[in-house]
């Protein structure tokens, strides 16, 4: 009788210890759906039950802010877009305090480049871990640059070899060239959304200026007017070689134009690339070369746009949550997850798998040039709004570039002052 009791108590104790469960909130996409397909492996290996909730990414901010507060956390692990890290930064457990993994090792900065890890930075420390390696990569049509006739003609006109554009000036030459062939050299991002801010940041930085810089923990306007004007004028020139609808092109339009074979080159987010390589969705599958974006006169830049995993301080299952985050970013697990559609962030995975997934090369290359938007502030959305509206106003010719730059500086200064 006593022995039975001891056995029962031990089993009870053991199940309590090991059958933990966590709730995870993330956005719904092929990347996160891959975790679903292999969830059973995680549960078996760790004994942790995972309730993985995937919702439309546009609704993530709203649901996260309702469910994660100082006192209560209905989720143990949340995915946070890097632009929103400032909003939740104080509510998240600093990465240095994340426990060592029991089954899966804690991921470190030798696995993920510091420039990418910086997406999780807040108040001088890391408050989470990136879970997708999202940054600008550049797509170029392989078939067009390999075409013998094109190569000959291009060399005759411009005196150097037709290749993946390494600089923005080369890109401009190629745009001019391909116009004669009925191909659009470039596709911009001009929809009124965050993507436009990304374009603005990329071109400003490529021409040598940052819009805002962090000084003593606060942002200050640091835009160099001359360089900004050069950037804007250059972009406007590029837009002359863009497909119809260039004045208001968002993701759907760009993806469509490139996949329908109309465009020579443009930037793209790695998460979208599988669609370009899918024969049911794209006419140019297999015809794309991936690289870092071309360099401007001043620098080569690739805008970063990662999501991170954060553990709310109010969560009661922090160790288990950390275990899941390590699992997602684990090397061996990553090999299987990548097959199911995950976009890896680990450098070793990017290098090893670049055979089957050529865009990983582009990501690895672009990672060296990662720059971030000025999003380490709770007020970032309003700041982004000013940058975006003025940039778009100038490139779509609603206002002159001079007006745009003046306005941008003025409005940003006004906003920053109002936050004092």
């Amino acid at each position: 009788m006593r022995k039975l009791l001891v056995v029962l108590l031990t089993v009870l104790f053991a199940t309590m210890m090991f059958s933990q469960s966590i709730k995870v909130l993330a956005w719904d996409d092929a990347h996160s759906q891959s975790w679903n397909t292999l969830l059973k492996d995680f549960e078996k290996a760790t004994g942790i039950q995972v309730d993985l909730e995937l919702i439309p990414s546009g609704s993530m901010l709203q649901k996260t802010s309702l469910n994660v507060t100082e006192n209560k956390a209905n989720y143990d692990l949340v995915a946070i877009d890097e632009g929103n890290v400032a909003k939740f930064g104080d509510l998240l457990l600093p990465y240095s305090q994340w426990p060592k993994g029991k089954v899966y090792p804690k991921v470190g900065t030798n696995d993920i480049p510091a420039a990418i890890f910086a997406a999780a930075e807040w108040g001088g420390q890391l408050v989470g871990i990136p879970n997708n390696g999202n940054m600008y990569i550049w797509m170029t049509r392989k078939d067009l640059i390999n075409d013998e006739a094109n190569k000959e003609e291009f060399f005759k006109h411009f005196g150097y070899e037709l290749q993946v554009p390494q600089t923005l000036d080369q890109l401009m030459n190629m745009c001019v060239f391909f116009e004669t062939k009925g191909i659009y050299g470039f596709a911009p991002f001009t929809a009124t959304s965050e993507g436009a801010t990304c374009e603005a940041v990329m071109f400003f930085e490529s021409f040598g200026t940052s819009v805002l810089e962090m000084v003593d923990g606060k942002y200050e306007v640091s835009l160099d007017r001359e360089k900004a004007l050069q950037a804007i004028r250059f972009y406007k020139e590029l837009m002359k070689f863009s497909p119809p609808g260039a004045m208001s092109m968002g993701h759907a339009e760009r993806i469509g134009a490139f996949s329908d074979g109309l465009v020579f080159s443009m930037f793209q987010w790695p998460g979208i690339v599988p669609s370009h390589e899918n024969v049911d969705e794209s006419m140019v599958a297999g015809q794309i070369v991936y690289s870092a974006p071309p360099a401007g006169p001043f620098a080569r830049t690739a805008v970063r746009g990662c999501w991170i995993f954060g553990i709310p301080k109010a969560s009661e299952n922090q160790a288990a949550a950390a275990e899941f985050a390590y699992w997602v970013n684990n090397h061996d697990v990553g090999l299987k997850l990548a097959e199911e559609g995950m976009t890896p962030v680990r450098t070793d995975l990017l290098n090893e798998l670049s055979g089957e997934k050529p865009w990983y090369t582009g990501m690895a290359e672009a990672g060296q040039f990662a720059v971030s938007r000025p999003n380490r502030s709770v007020h970032y959305p309003e700041l982004s709004e000013v940058i975006k509206n003025n940039w778009l106003g100038a490139v779509t010719e609603r206002i002159t570039p001079e007006e745009a730059v003046e306005n941008m500086v003025k409005e940003l200064n006004a906003l920053l002052e109002s936050y004092e």
Binding site: E70, K87, A191, T192, G245, S248, V378, P381
Partner: protein
């Protein structure tokens, strides 16, 4: 319509008791579920309330409202929204009315066709918005193509131009919602006492006369209801426009709810957004009073 004179008219009006039986369940549910949220939402408009607490949450009295008054974007959104209401709804009503009269005849497949007409009202709003976005694409959109057959070219795309995008948004709503008006009016028309309609026809009344002097007046309550219900929802239209244009280009289609959404969930200024919601309710009330007072007997006590 003749009152049988052999039946005593009972004083229904004086009795109070039974009305509780009928009213209470509905009042209870609405009251319990919504009283806290509505008061909370109203109260929030008097606070500065950033979505994520950064220490600046505080009672600020009517500052939100004063700031709104100075906000150009707010007035612009309001203007777009009211324009939307005054253009889309009358058109929906007119189309719905005439189609309802058309369907009030006996013809083959009338029931089946009537049900088909309702499909646009049934589909998910985002699907409607996205379909119209697809049809208006400059390169491959079906509507772009059809318009080009009539010589109307839009190289940059209809949705890239502020006024055209606004027009497109209005047309999307008209397309989607005139069958709603149709449904209500059709139910109303078919409930009308047939003896009056037949009497009018025997008297030789032409179609137009019949419609304007007989049908319309009898449908006053129904028409008011249709406009009222449609207006309450049209004042808050969101998903269709959001997926179709995102409020753009620029702020060309930034209707009121889209601006509220932007303030609440992009900028996280919940207090400010609540103040806008309160203003929206006030505007809705104006419409409601205006409509109901003239056309329904709720107001006569």
């Amino acid at each position: 319509m003749s009152n049988s004179t052999t039946i005593k008219r009972l004083p229904l009006r004086k009795k109070r008791g039974p009305f509780l039986y009928f009213i209470l369940p509905a009042a209870l549910i609405v009251g319990v579920v919504l009283v806290f949220p509505i008061i909370y939402g109203f109260g929030l408009s008097f606070f500065n309330w950033p979505q994520v607490n950064d220490g600046t949450r505080a009672f600020i009295n009517v500052k939100n409202y004063m700031e709104l008054f100075k906000d150009n974007e707010f007035w612009h959104s309001l203007f777009l929204q009211l324009g939307f209401i005054f253009i889309a709804i009358p058109i929906e009503l007119i189309i719905g009315f005439f189609v309802a009269i058309l369907f009030n005849h006996d013809f083959p497949l009338s029931g089946f066709l009537r049900n088909l007409l309702l499909l646009p009202v049934f589909i998910l709003p985002i699907l409607s918005g996205l379909t119209w976005k697809l049809m208006l694409q400059p390169r491959y959109g079906a509507i772009t193509y059809l318009l080009s057959l009539f010589g109307m070219e839009f190289p940059q795309g209809i949705l890239s131009d502020q006024s055209l995008a606004y027009t497109a948004v209005i047309i999307q709503d008209i397309w989607r919602m005139w069958p709603f008006m149709f449904m209500i009016l059709y139910a109303g028309i078919t409930s009308l006492p047939k003896d009056i309609m037949e009497a009018a026809e025997i008297d030789g009344a032409g179609f137009l006369k019949k419609t304007f002097s007989i049908t319309l007046p009898m449908l006053r309550g129904t028409i008011t209801t249709a406009i009222l219900l449609r207006t309450i929802d049209a004042l808050r239209i969101f998903s269709e426009v959001f997926v179709m244009t995102g409020g753009g280009p620029g702020n060309g289609t930034m209707l009121f709810s889209l601006y509220i959404h932007k303030q609440a969930f992009e900028f996280g200024k919940l207090g400010y957004a609540s103040a806008m919601a309160v203003i929206l309710i006030v505007i809705s009330l104006f419409f409601a009073f205006g409509l109901v007072r003239k056309n329904m007997d709720i107001d006569t006590m």
